[in-house]
């Protein structure tokens, strides 16, 4: 297998950006990222040898065909839309955004929903000020590649004090295995605003190999509240690299609700930087490992502000020969007095060949704080099965209830019913 180092660098990044007529600032930015990509190392997630994954499949620019109405989307995607049409929606198909809808009412309030490519022109200042400042291009090779190659993408801007009731939906979809599929979601929530985003990433490429090298950055300004739900269901041959970052100002809040339900390998890293005093973060991640899937799932919270609170929960059900390494990293910086960081990693093992590893890490540099972790790897609890069976429920059904129950804290919190139903369908398929 060829190494990414040999095949991608400044020149490649530059020529892609130029071929797409990107603005000059962005071309220069891409060139710098390409340069970084050629010399940085891959990240080294705990106990997961990603250097053997086919991460050098960059694909080529394959823009999807623009559509005029959501009804023209492939059926797999229309199923994900809420019954009541008209909500904010943006769709990336392969290498580009093909559809965007935002109500006139929200537009009038100053809300912006656009592809990131478009926003790089129309909202240059905002984009430049935030883009890849929470997930820096020089973190590692995959970050640099992401910076050099991101395409389509989502830019959501919520002005000060604006509260958006209906979830904003983002569909990220690839059905061309040759396509470069590198979406970047950038959200800027101004002071005291409120928004919920529901993102879906999926593929229809059969068994073909593909890499999703995606990133999400959320900037939640003072007093704002952002809820970000994501369901990823890429197919077996697809590698999913997803870095998610939130930066919270004073009293801001983020909730991450993530279903990692791919059939292929996963490298996901969901981290909140609690910069402002009184900011709070809540992250809930579930996954079901099947086949020979390998996954590295990391949640992180970095506390800088006073009285900041974070809670992180990852729950994994492991079947067949799936392997999961689950990391939780709570870091409390010096000066973050009265911070409270809690984390839980739980793995439910359903097969003797499955593997699950939970690594809770607390890094505390301040005295006056609370921090806690709980990690467990175990099988379905025999006592619980007995209790259910003692009421007449069969063993199979009892186990089913317990396994679904294990995942319910995330499933029940998915904000859109259509997406919750999708999640149920995927779970039923994966749990068999």
């Amino acid at each position: 297998m060829s190494t990414p180092t040999a095949s991608f660098g400044r020149d490649a990044a530059s020529s892609i950006a130029r071929s797409k007529n990107e603005p000059a600032w962005l071309v220069a930015w891409r060139e710098n990222a390409g340069e970084l990509a050629s010399r940085l190392e891959l990240p080294k997630p705990e106990k997961t040898p990603i250097q053997r994954w086919p991460l050098d499949l960059y694909g080529t620019d394959r823009p999807g065909a623009k559509i005029d109405s959501a009804s023209q989307l492939p059926e797999a995607l229309t199923k994900l839309l809420p019954a009541e049409a008209g909500g904010a929606l943006i769709v990336q198909h392969n290498s580009s955004v093909v559809y965007t809808h935002l109500s006139d009412e929200l537009k009038a309030k100053g809300v912006v929903l656009a592809s990131l490519e478009e926003a790089a022109r129309s909202h240059e200042e905002l984009v430049r000020k935030h883009l890849m400042t929470a997930y820096a291009p020089d973190e590692h090779k995959l970050a640099a590649l992401h910076a050099a190659l991101w395409n389509g993408g989502v830019f959501l801007y919520v002005p000060r004090g604006v509260e958006i009731e209906e979830p904003v939906q983002a569909l990220l979809f690839a059905d061309d295995a040759e396509a470069t599929f590198v979406p970047h979601v950038l959200i800027v929530a101004e002071a005291n605003s409120r928004v919920t985003v529901v993102e879906n990433a999926s593929t229809a490429v059969g068994d073909a190999a593909l890499v999703l090298n995606g990133a999400v950055e959320v900037f939640a300004k003072a007093g704002s509240q952002v809820r970000y739900a994501a369901v990823h269901s890429l197919e077996k041959g697809a590698v999913d690299v997803s870095y998610r970052r939130a930066v919270l100002e004073q009293d801001a809040r983020i909730e991450w609700i993530v279903g990692e339900l791919q059939d292929g390998n996963i490298l996901s890293d969901t981290k909140t930087i609690l910069k402002g005093n009184g900011s709070t973060s809540d992250a809930k991640i579930i996954t079901v490992g099947t086949g020979k899937q390998r996954m590295s799932l990391t949640t992180g919270a970095v506390h800088f502000g006073l009285s900041t609170e974070s809670d992180m929960i990852t729950r994994a059900v492991m079947k067949e020969e799936g392997t999961a390494v689950i990391n939780g990293v709570t870091k409390i910086e010096k000066g973050a007095t009265r911070a409270n960081g809690q984390q839980t990693e739980k793995v439910l093992m359903l097969s003797p060949k499955a593997r699950g590893d939970a690594n809770p890490i607390l890094l505390i540099d301040e005295d006056d704080v609370k921090a806690g972790h709980a990690a467990s790897v175990g099988q379905v609890n025999a006592e619980q099965v007995h209790y259910l069976m003692s009421r007449g429920i069969s063993k199979t059904e009892a186990e089913r209830l317990i396994i679904y129950g294990f995942l319910d804290p995330v499933v029940s919190e998915i904000p859109l019913e259509s997406v919750r139903e999708q999640l149920q369908r995927i779970l039923e398929r994966k749990l068999g």
């Binding site: 609890n381 025999a382 007449g392 069969s394 063993k395 317990i402 679904y404 129950g405 319910d408």
Partner: protein
């Protein structure tokens, strides 16, 4: 009256220790029996062995419900045959709501294709919860998770009322209940008393038996019944404790399985 429930020579062990050493008891249809006894004398072991808890190994004896040996059945089949055990320590199950759990249990009895409609189920559950003065929110709470001791006990009785078993075993249903809750739970049990249904009530306190009048009271020591009588036996135990029973029978250590 027919023998609804018969326990014959039941022996049971846990982790290689024999706890039940030939337990015999016959309960006729419609009867209420109470078992009292000091801590560690095998009362919960009896209940768990009858229900088929995997930690207990039954090594000898029979447990007949309407003449059928339940020891031959799986745990779920025992429940479907009409056994119900309100446990001393009910399990907590995250993610499974009380409503989903109970609907599954009811549907297991009704069989495939004959599932109860959601509306009908919700009405039934609401009605029973009201009888037990339970907050309706307990319907959607995760099963027993974060319930107080008393709330768990009430929830056990709720299950009994909805599942309508033939033989009900209550293992310390009164522990953790305040006086008002005790009355409510007792009323729930009394409402279920009928010619066809029998109860085996394990308790430490005579107080519960003021509300649920037993037909027979048994004292358990060393893994078997050592004395039986009527309700007056419970009153004497409450007043005088167990010493006189031990003296009468020449028992020094009433517990079982303590090496």
């Amino acid at each position: 009256m027919s023998n609804l429930f018969e326990i014959k020579g039941l022996k049971s062990e846990i982790e290689g220790k024999e706890i039940l050493k030939g337990f015999d008891l016959t309960i006729k249809a419609g009867e209420v029996h109470a078992i009292m006894g000091p801590n560690g004398t095998g009362k919960s072991t009896l209940a768990s062995s009858i229900m088929g808890h995997p930690k207990y190994e039954v090594t000898d004896g029979q447990v007949l419900l309407n003449g059928e040996d339940v020891l031959e059945m799986g745990v779920d089949e025992r429940a479907l045959a009409g056994l119900f055990l309100a446990m001393q320590y009910p399990s907590e199950i995250t993610g499974v709501t009380n409503a989903d759990f109970l609907r599954s249990a009811i549907n297991a009895r009704r069989g495939e294709g004959n599932e109860i409609s959601l509306i009908k189920f919700v009405r039934q559950m609401e009605a029973k919860m009201k009888e037990l003065e339970m907050n309706p929110e307990f319907m959607h709470r995760y099963l027993n998770e974060g319930f107080s001791g008393g709330e768990k006990k009430r929830n056990e009785i709720l299950q009994m009322m909805l599942l309508e078993p033939k033989l009900v075993i209550l293992d310390e249903i009164d522990s953790g209940l305040d006086i008002d809750a005790l009355k409510i739970v007792a009323a729930g049990v009394n409402a279920m008393r009928s010619e066809e249904r029998s109860f085996l009530i394990i308790t430490h306190y005579q107080r519960l038996l003021n509300y649920i009048k037993p037909d027979h009271v048994h004292v358990m020591m060393q893994g078997r019944i050592v004395k039986s009588g009527g309700p007056e036996l419970a009153e004497r135990l409450e007043a005088e404790g167990y010493e006189w029973v031990k003296e009468e029978l020449g028992i020094v250590d009433e517990t079982v399985g303590q090496a």
